[in-house]
Symmetry: C2
């Protein structure tokens, strides 16, 4: 599995997106992160593993604590992917617009010629 799939997959879960959102404000330990949710600590630990495998967070050591830190650069990967295809789609519309304009103009010329002759 490639990283992009892992990143998209990680962000497909609302709990994980919320964790990411909270980590933008400050690093946090596993129990701190788990507190607001109605699931076990273990479940949150698993979510963090998924985020870690996607490269979205890193876990360091501080005695028994495992402070979790967001690696925001990974967002660039997603941005790059989306931007690329968004740009292509836009260009496609521009080409279509140009084509329609051209046809329109040709049409106008034809009807003008029609009325003129």
């Amino acid at each position: 599995m490639d990283q992009l799939s892992r990143v998209f997959g990680a962000l497909a879960d609302p709990t994980r997106r919320d964790i990411v959102a909270r980590l933008t404000r400050a690093d946090a330990t596993v129990s701190e992160l788990a507190a607001p949710y109605d699931v076990s600590l273990q479940a949150v630990s698993k979510h963090l593993k998924v985020l870690e495998e996607a490269g979205l967070v890193t876990r360091t050591k501080d005695a028994q604590r495992r402070p979790v830190h967001l690696e925001a650069e990974v967002f660039d990967l997603v941005n790059k992917w989306i931007e690329r295809y968004q740009r292509q789609a836009e260009q496609r519309y521009q080409r279509l617009d140009a084509l329609l304009d051209e046809l329109n103009e040709r049409d106008t010329r034809n009807s003008t010629e029609g009325t003129a002759s």
Copy 2:
């Protein structure tokens, strides 16, 4: 399930990402889309259903054909989500940098005082 989850989930699959990529170039029918892949037509039809439920594509009717069209605006949803937290993370770093600068300056002043006295 919210749309953002569906969009991220849809893009978590490489085949679906590839379909999206190809649709940025031109609309296509189900069989056209299925051709390059080593899976059944039915499997691709399912992928398209997932993309449709995420709002990433629409399927219209042309006799027996079902031309698939990309709805690129949905990308904005993802962009917005990412941008928001990316910006927050950056601001956090800037605050951290400011704090470090301040500490550094105070330190420098202290050692200057130390050597001066």
